[in-house]
Symmetry: C3
Subunit: 368 residues, 3 copies
């Protein structure tokens, strides 16, 4: 009962947050046939600014962290980030009528980390007087960035395979005439045509696609920011420029995504229940997996139980900040209404109202 | 004498303000044939940023206001905002050789509200020890936004009527061949061709034009900001992003408007005296109308005399902040030199140096 | 030995600064074939923002300075700024295989002033207890802006002369057919064709080229900012908008320049040693010239020895802030790797670690 009222309060507060307010505003604007637009160069620059900021903040956090001490939990964070995407790929994506790219993007968002959920977890841990390593919060980029990169790569591989299959079907009829056209179209499926002579291999070679995904503008900006954050000292420009502009630019991106979402909202009507189901159970499942791995680190290296809870909260949270711009740019064909709606409307409230108390209770029971 | 020196000091200070400095800078740059330009997508984005900020600040002010208590003054503010545009439409616009769209835009600017004039009024009221309701300053968006929206709609209706008349004149000669071309050209005059068969109605249907005006990018951004300000809680992103960037982006818009104004300054030479005449009397007339309506609220609901003065000051002020970007985007054919020049060079000094002392004296005489 | 370790520490710190970090980041991104791009309208707007800020800060400094008292040192600062460009034009540019436009741009950068080198100089003067005029630091725009303007004008004149020579050579074969094409191409060489009839004069008329250079977007923005800074009161918008955004926008410009530099790095391999030689001796030479002129002011108007040191430090420093965006936009054909590399890798460390102690020691020896 208490959980339900907490849940509803959180849900209503979320609807009034600038992030979601601008998203809904964009949807209303589009529904009313307004001619409001954000010029394309501005949109591209906003995405660049957001992604380089996500990368920079992750990189700065990693540079300032004690890498030796946090090695095992950091490796587990990376493992969970990657695993979450594959869980979504083989559960949500296989539910009836769910589009695979939408499911992969949603899984990427659930693998990415919400700073505000993490902050809530830290606050509750402190109020309960549970000890944790000061570097534990710095585990977040180790899960956040691998999850987003994995989602984009997995989506690229999926799209390439689908295209290769379409090519093969096509090739039986009119292979020669169309080959050149498809080659020009994207260049992505090039690997599939490495064996000449009309015989397209059934297996798509994955490595060239991974490499290509990483060269895409979106991931380049993210990884560039990460590298600059780790290797240089961008704090002055981060604090004075990239960070203060972040929330405002995000709200404009949300507006653009809202305007686009209106047209694609209908797609979700027939599959909405599957997203609700996934969004309810995924945060808890991801949290328990991370909790289990955290306990292994607890027994091997003495990782604190508070740290284990933090790792679980990071895994349970789904990103409303770093995720949307990255996925929007990295998997442009995925429906933003699917992943943002799932995370904001169900995933985040579940993680906050159900996940955090659960993991803390579990840690207290185990810690005796 | 004292008034004259006050007036001149204010006038000279205005010329050094960044807003006017950049406007004049733009005019000089253009006069010197510089190839300096602001790229078009940037210009469009700056207009969007300015308008959504004007809307947000109005919306936040309305949400935080006590709507029940301020109902009657707020309704009067809306009435004055709309009335001011129609006064300009039927006085200034009918003076010899004054262009109607320029006059409507100027009236819109005089209906809109200057935050700095309002602040001056509040400061003087406090130093005189005159009481007023704390929510009285929040009346400004109730006059500001209706005035700007009315000006844009009235200008659209005027342009459509003119075009319909031109169409009709044309139709007598070559109706069939040209109809399609004009339909493509703008789509705005669609209503006028609702009755097929070569017979164009003399009356333009107004409602579709109003609807169309509201869907235009400029008003959409303004109204979207207003709705987000009222319905969501955008304070964090407003304070950290839209508000701090406002003055800087406005200065760049002023630069662009200055570069364009050079070419159109000549247009004003033959009509400059009419703008000076209007700009001198309009603030006082608008202020007295608002003062009269405020007195009605004083007798009906006990609206304080200080509040009546504030309503009059709001009406007397002409916008140098929210107005220019809105009118520039909403009535692109109007000459910015006309409305910005009128407001800055004459209207604002009159409101400050003549209007405020007049209304305060009147209130003190009435309050006895 | 101490100098060498100081030098290396400074060099390594420089590599981690955001400015250079983003430059190198851009080079790496381009080398890895990323498809990351900054849209062109954004790039143009960033350049505009940077240049108007450089102009504004110079203008504000000049307006707040005591122009009568600082007249002679200010004139000497202008002289040194211009002289430095001509020194580079007739030394570095004449070294084997050095491209003339690259050399002119590099000389412009060495004539421009580094705020951080100046700050270091002031700090050391204060710690040594050497007196100087409070307005001495305000001498910097008197050297900075003339150096950059001179470099751009000298480069334009050089390019026009080269083009006129090419035209003349061409004209012997096919003058009539090509003239129109070249006229369209740039319009810059118009002066050279002022005498009609197939006889092209050997001397290019310089004044039209100077005028044209000043109308180019880059210099217009710089000079507009300067004029606004001197004549209006843009402090509020400068402090709240142009200044806070400066470092962030500069870092993005550096990223773009880095992405472009990769392709042109090879050009420098055969001439790198000449740039290293110039960059080592130029700061000291420029500093000594300024020191000598400062001593003249010392004997004529009583300019303090501390002030003389500041003038020398200003001359020895090379800009890493105002220079790159101005030169990038004003001399687009110059290779940014040449001038940024020379200044950052050699010029600035030499000025800091060698120049400052030298000039202070000299002043102390002279001041007894």
């Amino acid at each position: 009962m208490d959980f339900l009222s907490d849940f509803l309060t959180l849900f209503l507060n979320k609807l009034q947050s600038p992030t979601l307010g601008f998203l809904i505003g964009g949807m209303v604007v589009a529904a009313l046939n307004s001619r409001l637009t954000i010029p394309d160069p501005i949109y591209k620059f906003i995405v660049f600014m957001l992604l380089i900021k996500v990368g920079l903040s992750g990189g700065i956090a990693i540079r300032n962290a004690n890498l030796v001490e946090m090695l095992l939990p950091a490796v587990f964070a990376v493992v969970v980030g990657i695993l979450v995407v594959f869980i979504g790929r083989y559960t949500l994506a296989n539910l009836p009528k769910v589009k695979t790219v939408d499911a992969i993007a949603t899984a990427g968002l659930f693998g990415a980390v919400s700073g505000s959920t993490l902050a809530a977890g830290l606050t509750i841990l402190e109020s309960e007087g549970i000890q944790y390593e000061p570097w534990a919060a710095a585990l977040y980029p180790f899960m956040d960035i691998p999850a987003l990169v994995t989602a984009i790569v997995v989506a690229s591989v999926y799209i390439s395979k689908k295209r290769a299959a379409a090519d093969e079907a096509l090739s039986k009829q009119e292979y020669l005439s169309k080959q050149e056209y498809h080659g020009k179209e994207r260049g992505i499926a090039a690997a599939s045509r490495s064996k000449p002579g009309g015989k397209v291999s059934k297996r798509v070679e994955i490595w060239p696609i991974v490499q290509e995904s990483l060269q895409v503008s979106a991931l380049s900006a993210l990884l560039l920011g990460l590298a600059l954050g780790i290797l240089t000292r961008p704090e002055s420009v981060y604090e004075s420029f990239f960070n203060p502009l972040f929330r405002g630019l995000l709200s404009i991106l949300m507006l653009v995504m809202g305007m686009e979402a209106t047209a694609r909202l209908g797609e979700l009507r027939i599959v909405g229940q599957w997203y609700a189901l996934y969004s309810f159970f995924a945060p808890l499942l991801h949290g328990f997996i991370a909790f289990g791995l955290g306990m292994i680190a607890h027994f091997i290296t003495g990782f604190s139980l508070g740290g284990v809870v933090i790792l679980a909260v990071i895994a349970a949270s789904s990103s409303d900040i770093s995720g949307p711009p990255t996925l929007r740019a990295g998997i442009p064909s995925a429906n933003p209404s699917a992943y943002i709606g799932s995370s904001t409307a169900v995933g985040t409230p579940v993680a906050l109202a159900l996940g955090i108390p659960l993991f803390i209770g579990l840690a207290q029971a185990l810690g005796g």
